[in-house]
């Protein structure tokens, strides 16, 4: 699944976190993308991602245990 940047607030937030650590934005994210391996997030980045997602969607994606992939995050956000 490919998502365009304009329509996807999740992608926007991923790129905010990447920009904050001086990494170039990604053009798209795929469902199977791994937050650590493919998006390069460490635990501080995951914490930031979670708080930003919660501000936007009102859902703490880590509250019920670990999430590893874009698809899992979207699942917790009710986007699947």
């Amino acid at each position: 699944m490919k998502t365009s940047i304009e329509a996807d607030p999740f992608l926007e937030i991923v790129n905010t976190v990447r920009r904050n650590k001086q990494q170039p934005p990604v053009g798209d994210i795929r469902a199977e993308d791994h937050l650590r391996r493919d998006l390069g997030f460490d635990s501080l980045d995951l914490a930031e991602l979670t708080v930003r997602l919660e501000e936007r969607f009102g859902v703490d994606v880590f509250a019920d245990g670990l999430v590893h992939t874009v698809a899992e995050v979207r699942g917790r956000l009710g986007q699947t």
Binding site: R19, N20, R36, R37, S43, L44, L46, A47, E48, T50, V51, R52, E54, E55, R56, G58, D60, F62, A63, G65, L66, H68
Partner: protein, 419 residues
């Protein structure tokens, strides 16, 4: 008892580099050896090597955290010249590690200096002798074949505890610090890890799934408060392990241990750990040198607030730090210090830094900044990264027109959602 000829002291599975106890003894036996009294270690193996030599040669050692920024290191005196300094010493022949243990226990000049976050800016040094460092080390036949996972920053007190625990039992350490959590889970199995000591945040990020780790006999949590849900997950994944919380600090080393979140003061420490009001205090004899601001003071206020679980039996829970400190995944951060650094920027009029709850790391830092037009979040981050280590840089920086009246840096309520 049959001893393995030369057990590995520490091994990093991702690089396959290792250091054996024999390597340490061989290094010590050189006729003339170069000893480094101040080290900014690049990895855990360097810490183990430096610490092993310092203990054996009975010399002082200062460990600078590699996560310090260059300006912090320089301000703390860790100049390139200091880090390059070497003492030339005569070598010593020690036949085997067991005789080294006795030598280390009797060390008179050995000191280890570490650093802890201060409340007024620069990290503060704390200097320990072997007795405070090794106070909580357990020895015995039950630990003969223990394999320890090292999951802490190797320049921190918690890692030193693991290194000494392994040393006095001739055990192997598997260095897992900074490794991808999925590889850590694999390594726990592949390397035969029996004991893990880490922060609750570390365990929270481990993808344990439905896996069961039968070989693990000890799971220790420290550095932050552990929640009941996490303990339940750990009990399921490590059914044969004793799960313990420890209360430790850079100032006093490891002090208290408990099976749940309820601590009590052990008899041996009964006259040296006390609760005044609702604060935990530690007698100076348990501390390293440095933390007491008043040199005549007998007691050190840890800043930790406790609540009685059962007053008559002396059981209590540790609730929180009462010093404005924020715990970011086990790293103690002073928000007032970060706000101070922000306010030093010529284009920043005012700043407020506070904790936000995080399901990933317990807490993370958030900042509100009043800045001149043209100064953006990216520039502010760039500026902070020159002076602060990554854990101390606020992950959320919001530019605002004005701040609420107080600017103490105290944890404030998080801004309203959706703003």
């Amino acid at each position: 008892m049959t001893l393995t000829p030369d057990p590995v002291w520490i091994r990093r599975p991702t690089t396959d580099r290792c250091l054996t106890y024999g390597d340490l003894l061989a290094g010590l036996a050189e006729p003339r050896l170069e000893y480094a009294p101040a080290v900014c270690p690049a990895n855990a193996i360097e810490v183990v090597w430096a610490l092993g030599r310092a203990m054996a040669l009975d010399r002082p050692l200062t460990l600078y955290d590699p996560l310090f920024t260059e300006s912090e290191r320089i301000a703390l005196g860790a100049t390139p010249a200091l880090l390059a300094a070497r003492e030339t010493l005569a070598g010593i022949r020690i036949p085997e590690v067991v005789s080294l243990h006795q030598r280390v226990r009797a060390a008179r000049n050995f000191r280890l200096t570490l650093f802890t976050s201060g409340s007024t800016g620069l990290p503060k040094s704390v200097t320990h002798r072997i007795d405070t460092l090794a106070r909580s080390v357990r020895e015995g036949s039950a630990l003969k074949r223990a394999v320890w996972a090292l999951c802490y920053n190797p320049a921190h007190m918690a890692a030193i505890q693991v290194i000494l625990q392994a040393f006095f039992n001739r055990n192997t350490i598997i260095d897992l610090y900074g490794i991808d959590p999925e590889r850590i889970v694999d390594a726990i199995v592949a390397e035969g890890v029996t004991h893990i000591s880490a922060t609750p945040s570390f365990y929270r990020l481990l993808p344990l799934g439905e896996s069961v780790f039968d070989l693990v006999r000890g799971v220790t949590l420290g550095g932050e408060r552990a929640d009941a849900a996490l303990i339940r997950r750990l009990r399921r994944a490590f059914p044969r392990a004793r799960i313990r919380n420890i209360y430790a600090s850079t100032e006093a080393g490891s002090l208290l241990a408990s099976d749940g979140d309820v601590f009590s003061i052990p008899r041996a420490l009964a006259d040296r750990v006390r609760i005044r009001g609702e604060r935990l205090e530690v007698h100076r004899s348990l501390l390293g040198d440095g933390p007491l601001e008043d040199p005549a003071a007998e007691w050190y206020d840890t800043g930790d607030v406790v609540e009685w679980a059962a007053h008559d039996t002396g059981c209590f829970r540790i609730l929180r730090r009462d010093r404005n400190w924020v715990n970011v995944g086990g790293e103690k951060v002073d928000p007032a210090e970060v706000a101070e650094v922000l306010r030093r920027h010529p284009d920043i009029t005012d700043a407020r830094v506070f904790a936000r709850p995080s399901s990933v790391l317990g807490q993370i830092l958030s900042a509100e900044v009043v800045a001149a037009p043209g100064l953006g979040e990216t520039e502010i981050r760039g500026y902070l990264s020159q002076t602060l280590s990554p854990g101390r840089i606020p992950r959320l920086i919001r530019l605002v027109d004005t701040l609420p009246l107080t600017r103490t840096g105290k944890a404030g309520p998080p801004p309203a959602k959706g703003t």
